[in-house]
């Protein structure tokens, strides 16, 4: 059964420089370069390899949350309970450690707690599809942090520094320069990026994010995917909790407050928008480093964090507004008119 008209269809994507140039990621790279040039100019201490690696430590532990958050946003949902999941995981890591468990087991407990929290979010989300994920995770956000508070009250649980390898997770550096956490992050990021862009799972995530119903009718198991992603998010909250605990050598119920907005902000600045089906993993990763290094550079010259708040907010809004001004479309329309 062949087409009657014998028309053929172009199957190759035309390379278009213009298209590449109007991509959001291109803008991000440009901003990234500009920020680095600016930073290098305002502080002569900025351009030092150990210094920069050091700086990555400040933001990479939160950045672990951006990895699954990209997926969550990609399928058109949102999880604002991640900070609370980090808190609960960290608190239970501390509790188990101080109850005499070996640290490796306590780490597994933390990861397990994260997975359970994520799973709870996921289960509620798929069993009650009527509910907007925002309200589910708003509820669990309060609940998870509340449980952490119930367990630890206003106390902290600490003493993690006594376990050297655990301290090294955050503080250790390979060859004295490259932080261990940086290496782990890069490995995780590569895996997440490949899955998002090269795997069947990734393609299906884009489908679910673009149109949940059409995806369902196309034989995609949407509930399973959502459950998987929420649970994965929980796991990475556990991972983030492990690094945060290593960073601080102790844990408290207020750990990770506000992480959710930081993580969402980084994804969104990277072009993984909240309406689903859009964005690119590279963009999110560029924005992680863009924001982190911007903050580091301004911190080096002791700019008040109030000004940083304003800059960060403005950057976020402009970042999302620029693609909407849609230069590509503007060119196209002119071309048609001319024709």
């Amino acid at each position: 059964m062949a087409g009657k008209s014998g028309r053929t269809i172009i199957a190759e994507e035309k390379f278009s420089l213009k298209k590449l140039l109007v991509r959001w990621e291109t803008f991000l790279v440009i901003i990234f370069i500009l920020v680095n040039i600016m930073n290098a100019n305002i502080s002569d201490k900025y351009m030092s390899v150990p210094g920069l690696f050091n700086a990555t430590n400040s933001f990479l532990s939160i950045a672990f949350l951006t990895l699954p958050m990209c997926y969550i946003l990609l399928i058109g949902e949102i999880d604002i309970s991640v900070g609370a999941q980090v808190a609960l995981s960290a608190v239970l890591l501390g509790i188990s450690f101080n109850a005499g468990l070996p640290m490796w087991l306590a780490v597994i407990v933390a990861l397990g707690v994260g997975v359970v929290c994520g799973f709870i979010n996921g289960i509620i989300a798929i069993k009650f599809t009527e509910l907007n994920p925002m309200i589910i995770t708003l509820g669990t956000q309060i609940l998870f942090r509340g449980i952490a508070e119930m367990i630890l009250k206003d106390q902290s649980t600490g003493g993690f520094t006594s376990v050297k390898w655990f301290s090294n997770l955050y503080w250790g550096k390979i060859g004295g320069v490259v932080p261990i956490m940086f290496v782990i992050f890069v490995i995780c990021a590569v895996i997440f990026g490949v899955v998002m862009h090269k795997s069947t799972f990734g393609r299906r995530m884009y489908a679910v994010g673009s149109n949940k119903l059409a995806a369902k009718y196309s034989g995609i198991n949407v509930p399973k995917m959502r459950l998987t992603i929420y649970t994965l998010t929980g796991l990475f909250c556990g991972i983030c909790a492990v690094f945060a605990s290593s960073q601080m050598g102790s844990a408290r119920p207020n750990v990770g407050s506000g992480y959710e907005l930081d993580a969402i902000g980084m994804c969104v600045l990277g072009g993984v928008l909240t309406d689903g089906g859009k964005g690119n993993f590279i963009g999110a990763m560029i924005s992680v480093f863009l924001l982190g290094l911007l903050k580091y550079g301004l911190g080096l010259v002791n700019v008040s964090s109030n000004i940083m708040l304003v800059v960060k907010g403005a950057l976020l809004i402009f970042a999302v507004m620029i693609p909407h001004l849609n230069l590509g479309r503007f060119f196209k329309k002119r071309a048609v008119k001319a024709a």
Binding site: S250, N254, S257, K295, S304
Partner: protein
């Protein structure tokens, strides 16, 4: 949560000259005193937008600059340990000589501060201590026992020797609140206080609205409560407001630790005011002393070990500027600024304009 903070710490009697003393300090700067310096000193406060902390950093900066050094002020964007660690990283990268920090969390800064110390940076804390492992010395506003004793005596005095009383705390992440409360409980063992009955400790989380709710809960739990002690600036403010609004100023009295500017309206001896007197210390002087201690550590005037004595070139501090470093309860060492200062109906108007 909005940690508006500062009910932590203790100290000194601000003399009338408190506002001028920094000028005196700078006057001394020229001579070749052991506190002259050309180094860079960083102070990390609890968070941006906290005027109490700002007074501390102002005091710190005045002295550092007067002594010839460079002062770096870092204000974390939130009152969390994470944000402070970022600040620590920043100042370490800048290659400062010393860090003074008002810790948002006792233990959580240990790894970061230890790393700074390993790089040869002198680390001390002020206002709210980082744990013993992560500092060379702590500049304490007031000793825990002094505060506990002072507050207990205030309860005894205000209640007339007997009756029910309650504590409105902050549930702050800084441990000093609980240290004071424990201290008060042990002071209470004395038979002198036997007719006082503590009905409970309430936690307002250093949030205004929560503190208001907690105050209401105190009043609901025990309508006969006589005295509320709030060793937190937010808590005392909220409690004062509730008592005022409920028209209970004659019936329930209030004391604790509070900012004079916030509490000026509520302090008075009559039944129209709920708070007969309260205590605090002078944050500017705390910053001043912290700066001298920082310079002292860098210039090797002191090492931070217990038993050391030193004299700062500012007669308004301590007894003619002389201090002794003592063992602190947490196993580290500390310098105590002085005893808590009482704000009374007589002096409050004057202090309300200072901080």
């Amino acid at each position: 949560g909005s940690k508006s903070d500062s009910g932590e710490g203790t100290t000194t009697a601000p003399t009338q000259a408190a506002t001028d003393n920094t000028d005196d300090g700078s006057g001394d700067a020229g001579s070749a005193d052991p506190y002259a310096t050309d180094g860079t000193y960083a102070i990390i406060v609890k968070s941006a937008g906290n005027p109490y902390n700002k007074k501390e950093s102002d005091g710190y900066k005045q002295v550092i600059e007067a002594q010839g050094g460079t002062c770096v002020i870092q204000e974390p964007e939130a009152a969390t340990a994470e944000a402070q660690i970022t600040c620590i990283n920043n100042v370490v990268s800048q290659g400062v000589d010393a860090i003074a920090i008002a810790a948002n969390d006792t233990d959580a800064l240990e790894p970061a501060l230890k790393q700074a110390m390993e790089q040869g940076i002198h680390v001390m804390s002020l206002d709210s201590a980082a744990n013993a492992n992560s500092r060379e010395v702590f500049v304490n506003q007031a000793g825990t026992t002094e505060i506990a004793q002072t507050l207990m005596d205030a309860v005894l005095d205000i209640s007339g020797g007997e009756g029910n009383w309650a504590i409105l705390s902050a549930a702050s992440t800084a441990t000093n609140q609980n240290a004071w409360i424990d201290g008060m409980k042990s002071v209470m063992q004395d038979s002198k206080y036997s007719k006082l009955n503590l009905i409970g400790v309430y936690y307002g989380d250093d949030e205004y609205q929560a503190s208001v709710d907690q105050t209401a809960a105190i009043l609901a739990d025990d309508p006969n409560v006589k005295v509320i002690v709030a060793p937190t600036t937010v808590g005392i403010m909220a409690a004062a407001k509730v008592l005022q609004d409920e028209g209970l100023t004659g019936k329930v009295k209030l004391t604790g630790l509070g900012l004079p500017s916030e509490m000026a309206d509520y302090i008075g001896a009559d039944d129209a005011h709920s708070c007969p007197y309260m205590y605090l210390w002078n944050p500017i002087q705390l910053g001043n002393l912290a700066a001298y201690v920082s310079i002292g550590l860098v210039n090797d005037v002191i090492t931070g070990a217990a038993g050391e004595t030193f004299t700062v070139p500012d007669a308004n501090l301590g007894e003619n500027g002389s201090y002794t470093i003592k063992e602190a309860a947490d196993g580290g060492t500390e310098v105590i600024l002085g005893a808590p200062f009482a704000f009374t109906p007589e002096n409050i108007a004057e202090w309300a304009t200072v901080y």
